[in-house]
């Protein structure tokens, strides 16, 4: 793969923990790669598997879903619902031909800015050698 390849990685970050951690990383002037497009959601339990599939279709090379640690969910068990969904989704993504390195679910609390930076660097490192994910629209109109 060309060394110029800069993956685009979509992050679904929960409002109460992970998004705060990303904010903290920023205000603490930590450095993390600029490849991450962050979408704030109210809860990791709000992340419908359809969102992840749509992200891949629209050109994401990777997707990270980040939520509160088990037991810390603002809505009691939204993150557990996310865990259940992503566990099943991972198997389907692999059958779709999406390498498992491209998708990750992580628990990142509001104080774990460093964890986010570590996860981001790891993902980027693993996705770069895979190259871009090409999902081309196929149709025969016109």
């Amino acid at each position: 793969m060309s060394k110029d390849f800069e993956p685009r990685i979509v992050v679904f970050a929960c409002n109460w923990c992970s998004y705060a951690a990303l904010d903290l990383a920023g205000t603490s002037r930590m450095k993390y790669p600029p490849n991450f497009l962050v979408i704030r959601v109210m809860c990791s339990g709000r992340v419908d598997p359809q969102f992840i599939l749509e992200a891949f279709r629209r050109g994401a090379d990777g997707v990270l879903v980040a939520g509160c640690h088990p037991g810390d969910c603002h809505y009691i068990e939204g993150n557990i619902k996310a865990l259940r969904r992503m566990t099943l989704l991972k198997r389907v993504l692999e059958e779709f031909g999406i390498e498992k390195e491209r998708f990750r679910l992580e628990w990142i609390s509001a104080s774990e800015a460093e964890k986010f930076v570590r996860v981001a660097n790891e993902m980027l490192e693993k996705i770069k050698p895979l190259g871009p994910l090409k999902v081309e629209e196929v149709h025969m109109h016109g």
Binding site: D48, P49, Q50, I52, L53, E54, F56, R57, P70, E77, I80, K81, L83, R84, R85, T87, L88, L89, R91, V92, E95, F96, G97, I98, L133, K134, V135, E136, V138, H139, M140, H141
Partner: protein, 326 residues
């Protein structure tokens, strides 16, 4: 006054949709009274050139079943589109790809290699495989349609006006769809005809036994359990896709104690049926521990076949994405 003209055509399908049309039984006579059928390869002797001779837009409605898998299908649906005022995707295959659409998990080359050479029941020592063109002994050239790289739902090939869901659509759904079309009071383009705009659970006789919060500890496969036909199948551990599937089928499978497999497809606003089904079904697994969740969901041996059974080519990713595109 001329009666409205109707055409039927089949692409990559099993013939069940044609069967379903015939299952209208004596109502088919009402249909014939109300319309002229100008093309129906499975039942009538009109040829392609008869369709070509019709003026553009002169067919009131073409009912097309099956997904588009051959160049012949592509040509025919484009011809029918040109000749028709309305094109209706009839049945699951035409709407979202259906069972033949699961072949989008494999490349065209893999499929041909398996079917003509590797399948255990195949004996083909001369390694014969279909060719687009061959010179026969008499000096004539014989042609076969091309097997396209992927199966596409009808709306990725031509503009589709309405959808009639089901594998196959039931006679009731078909009749309702025909009535709607003949009423002259046409719904918005892209609507699903003949079915409900609510999920199967609303229509399900077992809905009363479905608790407000469904949670299951164990998933069971249909052959492992004799289901209690009086109790919601979900709470018995069966993978029933009723909550995420459009209603209108009359809960036929449920009445036979078989869980819904999703042949009426997604509800409005769902962009990926399988994704939605995964979302619902995984969330009712009643464990919080990662390993327990994995173990319980591991009972679903073929998640693609369960959740994308009828809709892989219409999914966000269309099929296995490493396949070379056209």
């Amino acid at each position: 006054m001329d009666k409205p003209k109707i055409a039927f055509y089949w692409c990559a399908s099993c013939g069940g949709c044609e069967e379903a049309t015939v299952d209208l039984a004596e109502k088919i006579l009402d249909v014939v009274n109300l319309v002229d059928i100008v093309f129906w390869p499975v039942a009538m002797d009109y040829k392609v050139e008869d369709v070509e001779k019709l003026p553009d837009g002169s067919i009131t409605a073409s009912f097309i079943n099956g997904g588009v898998r051959l160049s012949e299908h592509e040509e025919m649906v484009k011809l029918l589109r040109r000749k028709s005022k309305l094109v209706i995707a009839y049945g699951a295959c035409s709407s979202w790809g259906g069972i033949p659409g699961l072949a989008n998990l494999y490349s065209r080359e893999e499929i041909l290699r398996y079917v003509y050479h590797e399948a255990p029941t195949v004996e083909n020592p001369q390694k014969i495989q279909p060719q687009l063109r061959i010179k026969a002994e008499e000096g004539i050239t014989l042609e076969l349609p091309e097997f396209l790289p992927r199966l596409l739902p009808l709306d990725l090939v031509v503009d589709v006006d309405y959808y009639v869901p089901g594998c196959p659509p039931t006679p009731e759904v078909t009749w309702k769809a025909i009535e709607t079309l003949l009423s002259g009071n046409l719904p918005a383009k892209g609507s699903v005809l003949g079915a409900l705009d609510k999920s199967l659970c609303y229509d399900c006789p077992l809905n009363e036994t479905k608790p407000e919060k469904v949670l299951i500890k164990e998933i069971k496969r249909p052959h492992e359990v004799i289901a209690d036909p009086t109790k919601c199948l979900l709470i018995q551990g069966l993978v029933c896709l009723g909550p995420v599937t459009r209603g209108g089928c009359g809960a036929l499978c449920i009445k036979a104690a078989m869980p819904c497999t999703g042949c009426f497809g997604p509800l409005d606003e769902v962009i990926d049926y399988g994704g939605k089904a995964i979302s619902y079904f995984a969330s009712i697994v009643d464990y919080s521990d990662e390993q327990e969740i994995e173990k319980t969901l591991g009972k679903i041996l073929d998640p693609m076949g369960i959740f994308y059974r009828y809709s892989l080519p219409a999914s966000r990713l269309r099929g296995k994405i490493t396949i070379a595109e056209r």
